[in-house]
Amino acid sequence: MLKMNNVTKVFRTDLVETHALRDFNLHVQEGDFVAVTGPSGSGKTTFLNIAGLLETFNGGQYHLDGLDVSNLSDKERSRIRNEKIGFIFQGFNLIPDLNLFDNVDVPLRYRGFRSAERKRRIEQSLEMVGLASRMKHLPSQLSGGQQQRVAIARALAGEPRFLLADEPTGNLDSKMAHSVMDLLKDINARGTTIVMVTHDPLLAKQARRNIFVRDGKVSELHEVSAFAEDETAASKVANSKQ
């Protein structure tokens, strides 16, 4: 499904070159749930951006769904993002001027669905995250957890094969973080491949597989045998609003 071989990424600014990824290797199978952890600045987001075709890379190969994506045009990359990939961001990234319905509608518009189809999908995905009744509300009228659920609904509405999440619980308190995590596990259980960046080891443990990134490289890979429900660990999560 996702296959990175020796991918490198260098950021050049006037003063410095930052090697955000060096010889990054990773294979993700269809249906997998991978949690990516690592210290701040280690290259997690960079990896996710490249995986989600938000950014180009400098060297190595990346095959997504069997397709070499290194030489695609911006337009083709946009289309693949739209059709195959769903994004969940740490800051939710809901559009403040649009109500929930219109927010979930955004990727569907670019997909070119007809309005009846869009309406069906929006309602269905908001239903799934339990916010169907608040379709006409604005993001600012929701709590952080609810906002992130809307973002998830938006990511899922296009039925992507692939869900990429960058610290989806980073801005949430532990209770909300868990409910979001439950939702993701649920989604994964229905067959969507998920790659999630987090710096919370307890949440990471709930994924099927963990990778640890350090200095732009994958330094550890290990399976997590089963979804462990660890109440005590969850309560120790010390995330707070930033």
């Binding site: 987001t45 996710l48 951006n49 989600g52 938000l54 950014e55 911006d74 337009k75 946009s78 289309r79 993002r81 739209n82 059709e83 994004f87 961001f89 740490q90 800051g91 990234n93 559009i95 403040p96 001027d97 649009l98 109500n99 219109d102 509608d105 955004v106 990727p107 569907l108 518009r109 670019y110 997909r111 070119g112 669905f113 007809r114 309005s115 869009r118 604005l138 938006r154 296009g158 960058d166 610290e167 980073g170």
Partner: protein, 410 residues
């Protein structure tokens, strides 16, 4: 590829409703700009039409001057005869004539002609040009009916003399105003009355000759009266061969001034300068309005650029998110162009109403003409285009925002 779902009219409108003030500000600017531009263009065209009217004489090759006698032994009649003979004999001069007033110059003499005698009847106002038999050639007039003056028709007129010669030649427009029921050809030979009951025979009709007053409603009304004047000041109008005017102007001035020291020659002016002077305020108005229009359009466009740039900056994150969710660059470009189009639409609709309102006011207060209906859609189109052009830069920059912005935590 056209796809209706990617034209996000609904969501854009709903998002705009949440930022009404900014959008409304642009819309009102567009509306007022359109209102000013359309009305200004209307005024400009009106003035241009006014300025394009033909005076009927050979303006490009004519000039005029005044000879004022002051010496006690000044013999005006002899001077005039000599002057005219001298000027007419000059090589390069087609013809010259003594005339009491210069067409389109601003100052002249008017009388009323009426078709029935008696103080109780109204006359038709007309400019009076007192000229001799050289008038047709000197003024480049075309006699389209009847006969021209002969030397025997021409008399001398003293300063306070009040009676009139027995014949006149009038313009076609005057003929049509005097006898609206009849074809102008049949006006020749008719008798009209001046000073209530003094009869004058219309012996000819000329195609066109304007009165001295360019702002007068009846500027096409003129009559030629066969007489030379002894008013102590004389005007001569001289027509030269093409291209020789500038050479002859100082020459004629010098010859006349030298030939008789008992008078002064003054105000030697080409007809082109006279026209420029008479229409100067219209020309000035055209230039001022054009400047206003251009500056205003630039101001409005810069305002749109400024506001759009700011709104793009404010929405960087949102744009990145849209890109991450699959929007292509052209979809982002389209978003901002469409947004501007919708705001402009409100603006130009408002503008159409304002334009008509201002025009109605101008019509009432300054007796301008009504604007033609097609000015409105044209004005709308122009402002739509100004808006689209102005927003293109910021929209292009928005489209260039990297999708990776979406994952950058602020």
């Amino acid at each position: 590829m056209f796809n209706s779902s990617s034209w996000e009219v609904g969501p854009i409108l709903r998002a705009l409703m949440r930022n009404k003030v900014g959008a409304l500000l642009i819309a009102i600017q567009i509306a007022v700009t359109m209102c000013i531009i359309v009305n200004a263009i209307h005024i400009i065209l009106e003035r241009q039409e006014l300025m394009a009217r033909d005076s009927g004489i050979d303006e490009a090759n004519s000039f005029h001057l005044i000879s004022t006698g002051f010496a006690n032994d000044f013999n005006e009649q002899v001077t005039i005869e000599t002057d005219l003979n001298t000027i007419r004999a000059l090589p390069g001069v087609i013809d010259a004539v003594q005339i009491n007033a210069i067409p389109i110059s601003g100052g002249g003499w008017s009388m009323g002609l009426q078709t029935q005698p008696g103080a109780e009847f109204d006359g038709v106002g007309t400019a009076v040009y007192m000229v001799d038999e050289h008038v047709l050639e000197a003024l480049d007039l075309e006699l389209i009916a009847g006969e021209a003056f002969k030397p025997t028709h021409v008399r001398w007129r003293e300063r306070a003399q009040t009676n009139w010669p027995d014949q006149t030649i009038i313009t076609k427009a005057m003929a049509e105003s005097l006898f609206p029921e009849e074809p102008w050809q049949q006006v020749v030979g008719k008798t009209v009355y001046i000073n209530d009951n003094e009869p004058i025979l219309i012996m000819g009709i000329i195609d066109k000759l304007q009165a001295p007053w360019v702002g007068w409603n009846n500027v096409e009304h003129a009559m030629l009266s066969p007489e030379k004047t002894l008013f102590s000041s004389s005007r001569y109008l001289v027509r030269t061969e093409p291209g020789r005017r500038d050479e002859l102007m100082p020459k004629v001035e010098e010859i006349l001034a030298e030939s008789n020291k008992g008078r002064i020659i003054r105000d030697v002016t080409s007809m082109m300068d006279t026209r420029e002077r008479s229409y100067r305020r219209h020309g000035a108005m055209i230039k001022i309005l054009t400047t206003v229009m251009v500056i205003l359009t630039v101001v409005t466009a810069l305002g749109i650029v400024g506001l759009a740039s700011f709104s793009v900056n404010r929405r960087r994150k949102q744009i990145g998110t849209r890109r991450a969710l699959g929007a292509s660059q052209s979809a982002i470009l389209r978003y901002f162009m469409l947004e501007n189009f919708l705001i402009s639409t409100v603006g130009v609709v408002l503008g159409a109403a304002l334009t008509i309102g201002l025009n109605i006011y101008l019509v009432q207060a300054f007796s301008l003409d009504r604007i033609d209906w097609y000015f409105i859609p044209l004005g709308m189109l122009v402002l739509w285009m100004v808006g689209q052009l102005a927003v293109f830069g910021p929209a292009k920059r928005a489209a260039g925002i990297a999708p990776a912005i979406a994952t950058r935590t602020v």
